[in-house]
């Protein structure tokens, strides 16, 4: 008799745990994603479930701590510099959902960095024409000067007119070279570099041979709750104070 009572209590306990989890998951899904960080309990619940997903799906590129890899152009998710958007949960969730250049019709796929040392720098845009080796060097000097590094001033001046002129760099990176996070065009004058150390060689590789990093779309692979948990986990690693002692 006692055994039956214990078994029944255990079953009830398990059912209660599942019910509580289900309730929290429903709250998580129905809430405005950008308001979720204010709900410490829900955030803790989501982050706890998002971490294993991150390790399984994202850590292979971004690393277990989400620090990225500049050698491979994988962005650091733990800093406060966002290539797309401003780091809001809804923006992170959109990237997780649809990816970047993932071939998903809703992917963030606005631009690529053209390969200016190739006959057709951007196959999708015939208006972009190649640059000469000297013009690429001038652009590099201009960018180094804007980053307050050592640069050839005469070449930098030529590079400045190229940047704002027929090279067309301003079109994505904006006229002040500070980028445009709405389309994923990086800031070229801040201290954060996506590829390599931001030196001459890395800049040459980017300008001459182009960049088009990609992030897969997970919408068909992870359920809606998982996607939100993953987004909140990424939010939590870039906002270390969001959950005290979370990591």
């Amino acid at each position: 008799m006692r055994f039956v009572v214990i078994l029944a209590l255990a079953c009830l306990l398990i059912a209660a745990i599942f019910a509580a989890d289900g309730h929290a998951e429903r709250r998580l899904l129905r809430a405005d994603p950008d308001l979720l960080p204010a709900d410490a309990l829900l955030l803790r619940f989501a982050v706890g479930r998002g971490r294993p997903l991150f390790m399984a799906r994202c850590a292979a590129c971004h690393g277990p701590a989400g620090l990225g890899d500049p050698a491979r152009g994988v962005p650091d998710l733990a800093d406060d510099d966002w290539l797309y958007g401003t780091g809001r949960v809804s923006e992170i969730e959109k990237v997780v959902d649809y990816g970047i250049r993932s071939r998903n019709p809703k992917a963030l796929n606005f631009v690529i960095m053209p390969a200016y040392a190739r006959p057709q720098p951007n196959p999708a845009d015939k208006n972009i024409s190649s640059l000469s080796p000297g013009e690429i060097d001038d652009l590099i000097e201009f960018l180094l000067q804007r980053q307050r590094r050592q640069a050839d001033a005469t070449a930098a001046a030529r590079g400045a007119s190229l940047f704002a002129g027929h090279a067309g760099c301003y079109d994505c990176h904006s006229i002040d070279a500070e980028g445009d996070s709405a389309i994923g065009a990086p800031n070229l004058v801040d201290a954060t570099t996506l590829y390599g150390d931001g030196g001459r060689e890395a800049l040459h590789m980017s300008i001459a041979y182009g960049r088009q990093g990609a992030c897969p779309a997970w919408i068909r692979r992870i359920n809606a709750a998982g996607i939100r948990e993953l987004a909140l986990y990424v939010y939590s690693i870039s906002h270390p104070g969001a959950i005290p002692n979370a990591h």
């Binding site: 994603p33 000297g134 001459a208 088009q212 990093g213």
Partner: protein, 319 residues
């Protein structure tokens, strides 16, 4: 008032002593449950079969999918049981009004939801009408969507570094820098051919001397513009001159090359030949190419599968 508590009542029950007239079934008849009856078994089986057939027929012709009255938390509505995703709802709110859920007015929410419901209804009606059979845009969108679905595994899979290195080694010729050259193209009239030195060293000296150039009426063709990538030099010089220029080392000059517009001599000032990229430098391109190949393979096998299971009849005249 007196109520008798025990009123004896006697009923006269007729008892038929004759078993011939009793309602008890005759031993051995189909109503006698204590014995097996073939007739009874057959009747019951027939009734069962008939009931089953009626139920199956009714279900078959009135079948509907199971329905629910609860909208899942990840959706904003169910239209004929087809879910409308909350993620799409939020994205539309942002696109149409530039607001998130908490800042959207009830009117904005209703408008977006209503638009989504309308779209879903039309999509469902489109399926019923089989618009894909006539509309090329719908057909194209369906082909793209199915190809994407087939390619999902390759898109989301992260290949191992060993697999990428092997791919890089197999296709190393793809991962090279663009060559750069600075070359002068001198052109002479056809009559100067006999006067141009045949020996490369002497020819180099001759074209370096402005007086000799003037005497032979030689001039820079102006086709090249300083330092150029190979592809640009090829466009400017043309195939024949570029083929000769590509093999020249720094400081060398070509033999005289006769073309329709005169005799050309190429003076190579600097030739930086294409350099293979190391794996680290080429990795992002290798990953992209590796994925593209995997996607192509998946698409191809998906198409084979579809062809294998399809029943395709081709008209006699096209067989």
């Amino acid at each position: 008032m007196f109520i008798p508590s025990h009123t004896p009542v006697r009923f006269q029950m007729p008892i038929d002593k004759n078993p011939e007239h009793s309602s008890r079934p005759q031993p051995g008849s189909w109503r006698d449950l204590s014995h097996i009856s073939n007739a009874r078994s057959f009747v019951l089986m027939s009734a069962g079969v008939l009931t089953g057939l009626i139920l199956a027929g009714y279900s078959l012709f009135t079948a509907r999918s199971t329905s629910t009255l609860i909208v899942p938390a990840e959706d904003v509505a169910l239209v004929n049981q087809q879910p409308l995703s909350r993620a799409d709802f939020l994205a539309l709110l942002q696109t149409l009004y530039g607001v998130d859920l908490s800042h959207a007015s009830p009117e904005q929410r209703h408008k977006v939801l209503d638009d989504m419901i309308r779209e879903e209804l039309f999509v469902q009606r489109g399926k019923e009408l089989d618009v894909a059979s006539t509309d090329p845009d719908v057909r194209s969108a369906l082909v793209n969507a199915v190809e994407l679905e087939i390619a999902q595994n390759a898109i989301t899979a992260q290949p191992s570094e060993a697999a990428l290195r092997q791919f890089y080694q197999t296709h190393q010729d793809r991962y090279v820098s663009e060559g750069v050259m600075r070359v002068r193209d001198l052109v002479f009239p056809a009559s100067a051919l006999s006067e141009l030195p045949a020996e490369p060293g002497a020819l180099k000296s001759a074209i370096a001397d402005p007086q000799t150039l003037a005497r032979l009426d030689g001039r820079d063709s102006g086709k090249t513009r300083g330092e150029e990538f190979y592809f640009a030099a090829k466009i400017h010089l043309g195939d024949a001159l570029f083929a000769a220029a590509r093999d020249l080392s720094n400081g060398m000059s070509s033999r005289p090359i006769q073309l329709a517009d005169g005799i050309h001599v190429l003076d190579m000032q600097e030739n930086k030949r294409p350099i293979p990229f190391g794996f680290a430098a080429a990795r992002s391109q290798v990953l992209s190419d590796y994925r593209n190949r995997a996607i192509d393979q998946l698409k191809s096998s998906g198409e084979s599968f579809l062809r294998k299971r399809a029943n395709v009849l081709v008209a006699d005249d096209l067989r």
